[in-house]
Symmetry: C2
Subunit: 317 residues, 2 copies
Amino acid sequence: MDKKVFGVDIGGTTVKIGAFTADGEVLDKWEIPTRTENNGADILPDIARSIKDKMGEDGTTVDNVLGIGISVPGPVDDDGIVHKCVNLGWGVFDIKEEMKKHIDVPVFAGNDANAAALGEAWKGGGKGCRNVVVVTLGTGVGGGIIVNGKVLSGYIGAGGEIGHIHIDDNETEKCGCGNKGCLEQYASATGIARLASRRLEEDDTPSTLRSAAGLNAKVIFDAAKAGDALANEVTHRFGEILGKGLSIVADVTNPEVFVIGGGVSKAGQMVLDLIRDSYVRYVFHASRDTGFVLATLGNDAGIYGSAKLVIDGVTKA
Amino acid sequence: MDKKVFGVDIGGTTVKIGAFTADGEVLDKWEIPTRTENNGADILPDIARSIKDKMGEDGTTVDNVLGIGISVPGPVDDDGIVHKCVNLGWGVFDIKEEMKKHIDVPVFAGNDANAAALGEAWKGGGKGCRNVVVVTLGTGVGGGIIVNGKVLSGYIGAGGEIGHIHIDDNETEKCGCGNKGCLEQYASATGIARLASRRLEEDDTPSTLRSAAGLNAKVIFDAAKAGDALANEVTHRFGEILGKGLSIVADVTNPEVFVIGGGVSKAGQMVLDLIRDSYVRYVFHASRDTGFVLATLGNDAGIYGSAKLVIDGVTKA
């Protein structure tokens, strides 16, 4: 029997689990609830039990498991020490050692945003590329930078915080991080809505957005696609700022491709075009041909990336 | 006899060569001229002969040489293929294979700016740190990013081009790269002189800089240290822009320390303080404690980095 790899993505309400071949083909995937009571003491035992149940179904033994990769919504260092996960009630502990008490296979762990980026770089939009920047445009702007196939975590795991690069000197409102003028304030789903609100308040230019039930990224991009001039202005401002920001990321890291995911990316090719038009005007010439593609794994990116942590970890050991 | 490593740094007029222990202690260093005639056909044979002569002095044999690392003033890919060095007259060729025709030891090669950064990270200002950003403030602004002890070269070797990150939307003059508003236009030696010229032209504020024989970084920093208000304003503008730029580099790569070198850094601690004051105002909180230190290896950084290429290469193989 070929060895199996399990990829686990722990979220605040649901744990996603995938069974993969050692080549990264998904065999099965399922979810269990995240039980955060008792400071999250049941989470790892629940995961171990669920994986063992699944192994029992086809007679997989621990000898046939290459390992389990776990992505965690908080900082995890290279030794597998979790440094608090507020959402799960977790403090500081060695997740590898703790997990091995429940199932005796090799365990690898990483931060969830980085694992998702690794997944997209490996089997998603960045498939086949070893230098990839994954940008997630959701409530905030998240990032994951893959250098030679590995996550760039940096000194204390704060690498890839591209949502908080300073992009506008004239901003008057504070970002959630406390600074002013962060990329996230313009390029996240909430950032685009904020750009639209501001623009609507500026003057009386007619726009279908004025009668929209709610201002969100989808409404704004749909209006722009339908020819609304003000919405078009807003989406161009979004592209201008994000393209400028990503030009800096490319000057620093020179990826082969940017993979754009998250809710905002559902507007599709239009988002890529808006970003790239701005990007090429700002980037150093050596990085001018960098590709822009959409993320393809959606919410499964985390289980793919967690499985990859196992494969890389086992190969290295 | 302990094995020796040779680090070679090829410049346009001089080749620097160092003999090192496998631990990176320098045993000897010397220079030979760079003969660029005949499309640089003599450069590698000259280097091989010079190293063999040095080996003859103490009876070192090829078996006692761990390898030769060569840094080149142009792009070199991970396979050791040089992609043109205009200054040397070189076209595209395999420098490892070519060098081995002249001396039969393992050969490793890299770009000179990256090798110098690797040297500073290894034995210079960044000694003991595995995640380091080296910034060279010379005629231009160069950079080298070390992630987990290795150079971040990126997809086509254009990583670490921090001199060309876009930093000012209002710039009217073009940078040498063709873009407008690059970091290098403000933070290089020529950039600071340009900031001073601009400021002097703005109004009639008295300043000792008005009677200076020439406006250069040293004159400007010395005037600021001596209490000249206008020079002080200029150095603060330099620090403001560079600190902002490096905050973005840190948000992306989260280094443990920034190592600041090049001619401008000769103004010393004042330069670090000016950068850091601005840096902490812009950077994401997780990277707020990143250190700032001066480079220590000067022109020897390249030979150290070239030696490190050998040590890493041999260890990996």
